[in-house]
Symmetry: D2
Subunit: 290 residues, 4 copies
């Protein structure tokens, strides 16, 4: 199948490679040329302009945020160049408000639109083992599912409205941030009481909290290992904002998200914007004088 | 070995039964007589007065809170009747301030004192599979460890000061409460966006959050199954207060604990005091109009 | 002087009347015609289209929010019809981000732009006794100051960048909301302790807190008099959001604003959106079971 | 009238002097001797032991907190030496739980007990212009009122249960702390937007917030003048804790008090414990990078 791909950052490159590896014809476009070259060596075609990526049956895009999607024109101008019948799979974590508008803008042009944000860091993307949350019409999902299965170990349907996949992702990322806050506060408390936080983290993450979030991030916090950033404070703060924005739209009080967001602002002021977002835990320790 | 046991509530009864099953001579005392009778049928001796439970090598106590320990006299009068050399294993989740004073009061009378709070619900206690956190001197821990291994699948040392085991437990319970808050907010958010919370909970608790806390409590919240209470809002609130009290003593800001505590007060006002503490999740949904 | 006025709501009508009373030639435009008629009876000219209001030396606008300003075209189309040299005085409480963009859009067209948000309710506006916060270039402020002095008892300069007046207003309104939260919590506390909240409010608002905010809103809360709404929960929530949005832009943690915002969402869910925003106090009492 | 006075700190000394100046026979006792000497020069008798201060018709005490009251024995031993019919006026800000117990302990010994906490700093105490909040039986209040009128410009009755005066005071102090938080956040916000915080504070504290709290503390914050401490962070934190403790007893959610309390902990960690509590404002500015 002929597939376009726009946005070859750390996540996008790994995902695109898996589509290519599955035997599809891939046309890639990226603002800066280097990531495209790496894929070209594996057989991808480099598009001279973004519209070339819209000439297949399916377009994937993986852009940083609402503004990046707007800048490339996927909410307007660029769509006018799309091949009739194209289905756009938007992998990015964007706001539910914008996701809903994108769905409408595509429908008006009789193009398919599917939101498919993913859970997983770049290494997981490269391994094709992402958790993919997808939302859109049954028809559109059926059309793109085989490709999603190339990039993820698991594909879950959030609903028929594309923005529901974004909300699912945003809510999940909020839960991750909440776990960071929880560990940060708890670790600071036990440390000030003279307990070895490594022991505390080890015991809990091998019992009640025996899961990747508490094991991985918990280990990062007790070892104060916040670089390289798999996912930065800056990006984490963006996603918590998306949760707060969704909460405004949907009238849901989210005081824990508000709390974490204010801490991310403080952490940013303290110079941690580009550190891994688990550095929130280190920042909370510093508030306790540790 | 001759072992005393004071406090035969849901947790205490199960624990005492496992000590008995391991072949020890057990002298039990409880304020209300029925739980003691059940153990007597299995071979325990019923003490006519609490001091009889202090005539062995080891005394276990499992009382509700600081006040219950004081009422039975384990911070004073009752200790004067203890057999010389007795080591007291306090299983209760009490304040770190009181734990520290108890350790001192026992030392003054040349009695051993070990704090050994446990993680696990009554069914886990009955099965002898608790997670036991212990703190005290090496000698005392060595003495009681074989008994602790009868009641738990795992025994972890928090430190040499007994109150460290209490702090460990308190911090762990705070993390549990934080997870309830996190799920409650996230589930409310996705539900108001039209997503099936069962799907959301199922996906996350089988991936990033694939651990007992998110699976068990998450399931309770999405199914609104808050009875019978394995651990009530009332008890949960007590433990979050212990965390906040420890945070005062140790100068640690714990804004997430403060947040959860205020929600537990609200939930109590709303009539949920005796429901399972996972009903915090249901309460947060009601705040969002669900 | 020939002056235009767009936006004749409760606030705008009173302000426009004071400009008219000061002897200026006033051209008014409003989406719905009735408020314009009332002013026409006092001598105002009714514009047939909004652009007619831009043919004088100065244009005032008093629109509800960013979107209302956009809808009437004051961020674009409408400006192309402006008389050369026109200075636009924007009285609305809008976001600092949008205020900054409006300033730029006017400068590109060589039009003056001054932000002049006001403190005061409709009756204060009608009486010409508003507190006016103004920001813009010295020249522009000098030009419009005589008119601002017709509508306010006091005109204060916040800075040279127009958005600074908006930030000033937003921060002030946040402080008002914070006072509502503070009173709401304190009144609930004393009431549950059996104290007459009227006495508490009376004593404090005639001593340490002897000022309009605590006297007026404090009285409203203890008397549960939340209608008619001088300023609704809906508008209050909008302004707290503007504070939170400014805090994002400027990297300032505002946890108290976050707290109040979440309470406004809850109050909205509880059906209070159109009540006076002092009903936050009544809502907080209900959380305590009062 | 013969009057005893225990506790001659900054507040107590000023209050005692006013009782003396009103022509009463005053017997004073203080742990450290110097403050008593100063009063002796004005005609007070120095008690050789605290019990001597309980031989008049009325005893005033002004001690730092619950523990200080206990240490001097006013919850037990010392009361057994009281002259029959003595009425004890406790001026201290203590917990409502302890106030209630003190009332009971006095009643059991047929002694009168009146709680009369005061609003005002040491200079106000010296000037005899405190705001006195009193609670107790009508008879007891009638008996002590003439003396209270010597020390305050205003005496207000909170209720018949002594602890109600303490709750009144605690709730009032919470409102003060909340105002500090509100100003601290608002000032940080405007400053980061380039507004002169002096102007902002000046305008608001001469309009909507034209009252002592916003004028005095607002001025301290914008001028970063936090020494000498009229009322320290340490004492402020103690009083917010009393509010939180009362909220626990009375089941009232107080999230704003929780928020301020966590900030006081952070400020303490940052070394501000002995600075004036308005330094909370300076601390909040530092969180924003100012």
């Amino acid at each position: 199948m002929k597939v376009g791909f726009i946005g070859l950052g750390h996540m996008g490159s790994g995902i695109a490679a898996n589509i290519l590896n599955a035997g599809h014809e891939l046309v890639v476009w990226n603002r800066s040329p280097d990531p495209a070259k790496a894929l070209a060596e594996k057989g991808a075609h480099i598009a001279g302009a973004p519209e070339e990526a819209l000439q297949g049956a399916i377009l994937f895009s993986m852009l940083a945020n609402d503004d990046a999607v707007r800048e490339v024109g996927l909410d307007g101008a660029l769509l006018t160049h799309a091949k009739p019948g194209l289905t756009h799979v938007n992998l990015a974590t964007i706001s539910i408000d914008f996701a809903s508008r994108l769905a409408k803008l595509h429908a008006e042009r009789r193009l398919g639109y599917v939101a498919a944000p993913v859970f997983g860091r770049p290494d997981v993307a490269a391994a094709g083992k992402l958790l993919v949350i997808v939302a859109g019409s049954h028809t559109n999902i059926a059309k793109v599912r085989p490709l999603l299965e190339c990039i993820g170990r698991r594909v879950e349907v959030a609903g028929e409205a594309p923005e529901q996949a974004n909300l699912f992702k945003i809510a999940g990322n909020f839960m991750l941030a909440a776990a960071l806050e929880s560990m940060g506060e708890a670790f600071a408390l036990v440390r000030k009481g003279g307990i070895d936080a490594h022991v505390f983290q080890d015991v809990l993450s091998n019992s009640l909290f025996a899961c990747p979030v508490y094991q991985g991030y918990g280990g990062a916090i007790v070892n104060a290992k916040f670089e390289p950033a798999g996912f930065s404070v800056k990006l984490g703060m963006k996603d918590v904002r998306l949760a707060l924005d969704a909460a405004r739209d949907l009238s849901v009080p989210l005081p824990l998200a508000s709390l974490v967001h204010d801490h991310f602002i403080e952490a940013t002021v303290a110079g941690l914007a580009d550190k891994d977002w688990s550095s929130l835990g280190g920042f909370l320790a510093s508030k306790a004088g540790l």
